[in-house]
């Protein structure tokens, strides 16, 4: 690769905390904001943000802005010199019919409020959007287009998304159980997460990322883990096995996703590497997930641990993947983030600590 890309700013808005350090502490203490909701025909469990006190027009834009502003402040950059990427699946869809809910309009509003001069780009690549957006930011930097790129991912869980996943029988009526024998579906989650990417050296480096399709089915994961395996295969040459501390998997807790990931990990020769899923803490935060889960995993690796997989008790996939049920110490300076989504998309990204040396 021609140019090294670093994370120089981070911003979070989650139900369990608003800083990477605070969120990490909450996760380590076993906290979660998952609770039952009964505002649709069936009850479901979800992790929602507190809207009390919010009086603006768009809560979606508000949380995206909050996360982006924190990342910009930490990075100490001028947004006018940065590229801007928004990652989301459904954006402001809760206002369908009452305002322009296009992702393009949301991105323009957010970019303008931040003082961004670059043309905004939205990456809407299903559940891997956040990871795909960071890959896009990395490419923009390597192409020499900007000094920095602001990448913000955000998702709210409206009736639109919840009833849709219910219609697909994908939601659990209890706290989700990633990789567990009794897993029965996912929990929707709300969050915003942002990073500022830059060529300016910093402790954390985005080393490589790839997006691959299963070429199999629009709403069902591949039985051979094809795309997930191919995405892993694209990033593994950049890390020595002994330096790979863990893989933070997608782990949505649907029957098919977790089984598919186990197959992909096996094909990639990673059965002996610790894995964990954060869905039991945050639910599935969709357009925010890639960035949020990377930021939390970075904190974990800095503390020398892999975080617990909340909700996991007994292995329920066909291959002996090394699911981290509890917190445990790990060695290595790098981790892989893995995601998969509708449309057959899969993404893998390798991040390394100490990249400035």
């Amino acid at each position: 690769m021609t140019e090294d890309v670093y994370i120089i700013g981070r911003g979070l808005v989650t139900p369990v905390g608003d800083t990477p350090e605070g969120v990490f502490r909450a996760v380590r203490e076993g906290r979660s904001a998952l609770k039952p909701y009964a505002d649709t025909a069936e009850t479901y469990w979800a992790s929602r943000l507190d809207r009390s006190g919010f009086t603006g027009d768009s809560f979606f834009e508000y949380i995206a802005l909050e996360a982006a502003r924190k990342a910009i402040q930490e990075a100490g950059i001028d947004p006018a010199e940065a590229g801007f990427i928004l990652s989301t699946i459904k954006g402001d869809i809760e206002h369908l019919g009452s305002r322009d809910v296009s992702l393009a309009a949301s991105a323009s509003n957010i970019a303008n409020a931040l003082g961004v001069k670059a043309k905004p780009v939205v990456v809407s690549n299903a559940c891997i959007s956040g990871l795909a957006a960071m890959v896009q930011g990395m490419r923009m930097l390597r192409a020499g287009l900007y000094k920095h790129v602001i990448v913000v991912g955000a998702e709210l869980q409206s009736r639109f998304i919840v009833t849709g996943f219910q219609s697909l029988k994908a939601l659990s009526q209890q706290p989700c159980k990633p990789f567990d024998a009794a897993r029965d579906g996912l929990n929707p989650g709300e969050a915003a997460a942002a990073v500022v990417l830059s060529g300016q050296p910093a402790p954390w480096q985005l080393v490589a990322g790839a997006v691959r399709n299963d070429a199999n089915h629009i709403s069902g994961p591949s039985r051979t883990g094809e795309g997930s395996y191919n995405a892993l295969k694209a990033v593994l040459p950049y890390v020595a096995k002994e330096d790979l501390a863990f893989v933070n998997v997608h782990g949505t807790a649907t029957r098919y996703n977790d089984e598919m990931e186990a197959i992909a990990l096996d094909r990639a020769g990673l059965l002996d590497v610790p894995i964990n899923s954060l869905k039991g803490v945050f639910g599935h935060t969709m357009g925010a997930a890639g960035i949020l889960e990377c930021l939390v995993s970075m904190q974990a690796l800095e503390a020398g641990i892999v975080l617990p997989t909340r909700g996991f008790k007994e292995l329920g996939v066909s291959l002996p993947v090394k699911v981290s049920a509890d917190e445990r110490a790990v060695k290595g300076s790098a981790f892989i983030k893995l995601l998969s989504g509708f449309g057959g998309v899969n993404g893998a990204m390798l991040l390394r600590k100490g990249g400035e040396q």
């Binding site: 323009s108 690549n125 490419r139 923009m140 192409a143």
Partner: protein
């Protein structure tokens, strides 16, 4: 470079019959995906060894409105009986997935939303996609479909060796 388009309001069933005709999954697609599917058919029909799985071809899809037309259909169904068949098409990237499935493209598939049809910006993103060392060519689609009878749909095929 091969470039194709579908005039707004064209009869997509006629087009399907003349271009493919043997792919029943077409009938369940929303209009956006039908457009993407047909544009891709026009672009890759002459490929040698078509339908053999390959990882070296990316599918990069752009629009302004994303899946808006289907969003409205799904929102109507929500009031009554939320339709899973409509819901899956409310993700703006399903169009790239449909093209990948049809053609067995196991490479990168990405979906982008931009403020408007901006060829310079699209060309720049497409060029950057070739930073992935596996990608040798890309089906690029601009398909903006705010309603079922009105759209701007065009596509082109980019090969790595043609990039300057």
């Amino acid at each position: 470079m091969k470039e194709v388009s579908i005039p707004s309001g064209a009869n997509l069933m006629d087009l399907y019959r003349s271009l493919a005709g043997d792919y029943p999954k077409f009938f369940k697609m929303d209009t956006l995906c039908k457009l993407g599917f047909l544009l891709a058919e026009m672009l890759v029909a002459d490929d040698t060894d078509r339908f053999r799985q390959r990882e070296d071809r990316a599918v990069l899809v752009f629009s302004r409105e994303g899946s808006l037309a289907d969003d409205i259909h799904y929102a109507h169904s929500m009031a009554d009986f939320p339709s899973p068949a409509l819901f899956v098409y409310t993700l703006p990237n399903i169009i790239s997935g449909e093209i990948a499935i049809r053609n067995k493209y196991a490479g990168e598939t990405s979906a982008y939303v931009l403020e408007r049809y901006d060829r310079l910006l699209i060309d720049s993103i497409v060029r950057q996609a070739f930073q992935d060392p596996v990608t040798e060519s890309a089906v690029v689609i601009w398909a903006d479909c705010p309603s079922d009878n009105q759209w701007d749909a065009r596509g082109w095929l980019v090969k790595k060796e043609e990039l300057v």
